[in-house]
């Protein structure tokens, strides 16, 4: 394997929901700067795996390490503070807040002024607020959202909402970005642009990305390495070319026909 630093490491992770093994003995890793895909048919356990990585669910067995630190037992917000950010399959924006505020909220953990500073409005408060606003605007303009900065998030068109969610996740300054079916609900043209954007994200922000998709063709072009889940088990792993030829994967997707 590569000499690069190992960022995310799952060792034999399983989770059981009332007798159902939703994910079973799943091992995977992501190195620094890698763009990895997690694919599988609907209901294969992709989002469940995602939720374990991000601290929403506690794995029943196995350990998850991020950046050398144990993730098991950490709460979602602590996981984010460790340097993981995520988006949601069904968009979860702060819909009644402005686009700018959506992003500023994500900068919160990098703000150092205290409550008394804010209440008394000392210089530190203004300096940091200015800073955050500036950074947020810069980020928004990278995603072509700057002209919507003062609109309510709920009033954005669908594609822009997806972009905002990614921009917001990036504002937490993550080392690893997890995208949960970002192409859901997009038309082919939007999807194509999104896939280009994902690669650009990795190069521009120097982050690793884990992408969940159920549509295999989408991830093939963009990811460097893939993991395939079926019924909670990892049935294949490798480069897109290897996966394309893998009989088990073809069977899982096409239901027996080769």
């Amino acid at each position: 394997m590569s000499e690069k630093k190992r960022l995310l490491d799952l060792q034999d992770v399983s989770i059981v929901f009332g007798g159902l093994r939703a994910v079973s003995n799943f091992s995977m890793h992501i190195d620094d700067g890698e763009l990895v895909g997690l694919i599988g048919p609907n209901g294969a356990g992709k989002t469940t795996a995602f939720n374990m990585i991000t601290g929403v669910y506690l794995p029943t067995e196995g350990q998850i390490h991020f950046d050398g630190k144990l993730v098991n037992g950490k709460k979602s917000y602590q996981v984010t503070q460790m340097g993981m950010a995520r988006t949601f399959q069904n968009i979860r924006l702060f819909s009644e807040l402005s686009v700018l505020d959506n992003v500023k909220i994500a900068y919160n953990m990098h703000i150092n002024y205290s409550l008394p500073h804010a209440i008394l409005r000392v210089k530190k408060y203004f300096d940091e607020e200015n800073n955050v606003t500036e950074e947020a605007m810069k980020l928004l303009s990278l995603f072509h959202l700057e002209k919507h900065a003062h609109d309510l998030a709920k009033n954005l068109p669908y594609g822009a909402q997806r972009r905002l969610e990614i921009a917001r996740a990036l504002a937490t300054k993550p080392k690893l970005l997890l995208l949960d079916e970002p192409a859901a609900g997009m038309n082919p043209q939007e999807t194509k642009e999104l896939m280009e954007m994902i690669r650009w994200l990795r190069d521009n922000f120097k982050i690793s990305i884990l992408l969940i998709e159920h549509d295999m063709s989408l991830v093939m072009g963009v990811c460097e390495r893939l993991y395939v889940l079926e019924y909670g088990m990892c049935i294949a792993t490798g480069t897109p070319d290897e996966i394309k030829k893998n009989k088990r994967v073809i069977k899982a997707y096409l239901g027996g026909e080769v």
Binding site: T47, N51, V56, F88
Partner: protein
């Protein structure tokens, strides 16, 4: 008479169960309305008050006996429930839930103060519809009112269970509370089902009101405030939206209150109800018989 601990305990259990069955009657309406509209109907306690007053008019002015008075009071309250839902809640079906809650509080204030205006704030003496006979079972005391309360409450609960589980209207109610949109697509008339729920819930509360009138001999326009809140506690205790849960919750609440007033102090009685509430919410928020629902990420 012996006043041993065990003796006292059993006596308080008897008192508690009869009080609790009244809470259960009110709690049923709360739980059904919550189940179907996700609304804490704060006006429900005042429907109970209204029922007690209708019962009072029937018995003391019209000189009716217990059963006709009970039935008229239930019908009157059912009608009131339907009207309130129609005027105050139905136009707000898509409003933010807190706005509907404020409306419910407004309706509650309205009913209380209209009753104060109509019937004066002074308590009224509820006529004794039964000659209060005191039965001695061993060394324990049970009076005829307690028996009437218990029997009436049981009959009503059995009837409600039958309606909800066996009739078409009951099935519609369960369907709407499970998933209103799906129920609509199945051709269920949501509006009339909700009206039906209010009618049933209000009728039960009114029965509770009449029974309390008989038990304590006294009614007043604000009598619904505290029992209303406590009945909601009972509904939460049993698991909100769950009909047997409301019955169980009501009985438990009544028993605990009786035990607290019997063994500690009656001034702490109300605190006990709320303390149970807090404990159950913290350790089993879905209630004793409720199901756990978790938001999917």
């Amino acid at each position: 008479m012996e006043t041993g601990f065990l003796h006292q305990l059993v006596q308080q259990l008897i008192n508690g169960i009869s009080l609790g069955s009244i809470y259960a009657l009110i709690a049923l309406g709360y739980t059904m309305i919550y189940g179907i509209l996700k609304l804490i109907n704060f006006a429900h306690g005042d429907i109970y008050m209204l029922g007690a007053y209708i019962g009072f008019v029937c018995t003391s002015i019209l000189k009716l006996s217990f059963l006709p008075a009970l039935i008229i009071s239930m019908l009157g309250a059912a009608l009131a429930g339907i009207i309130i839902e129609r005027i105050a809640y139905r136009p707000m079906r898509n409003a933010p839930r807190i706005a509907i809650l404020i409306t419910a509080i407004g309706v509650s204030f309205f009913l209380e103060n209209v009753m104060i205006l109509v019937a004066s704030p002074q308590p009224r003496t509820f006529p004794a519809v039964f000659t209060a006979t005191v039965y001695h079972v061993g060394s324990w005391v049970v009076n005829s009112q307690q028996i009437v309360i218990l029997v009436s409450a049981l009959v009503l609960m059995v009837a409600l269970t039958y309606i909800v589980n066996q009739t078409k209207a009951g099935k519609a109610m369960r369907a709407v509370s499970f998933d209103a949109d799906a129920a609509r697509l199945m051709g269920i008339d949501i509006d009339s089902t909700i009206s039906m729920t209010f009618a049933l819930g209000s009728a039960l509360a009114a029965a509770g009101g009449v029974l309390v009138g008989i038990y304590y001999n006294s009614i007043d326009p604000l009598m619904g405030m505290v029992p209303g809140i406590k009945a909601f506690v009972a509904a939460v205790l049993g698991g909100i939206g769950v009909i047997p849960g409301a019955m169980l919750g009501g009985i438990i609440l009544g028993v605990v209150e009786a035990l607290v007033s019997g063994f500690i102090s009656s001034t702490f009685r109300d605190a006990a109800a709320f303390a149970i509430l807090i404990i159950i919410l913290l350790f089993k928020p879905q209630g004793l018989m409720g199901k756990n629902v978790r938001e999917k990420v």
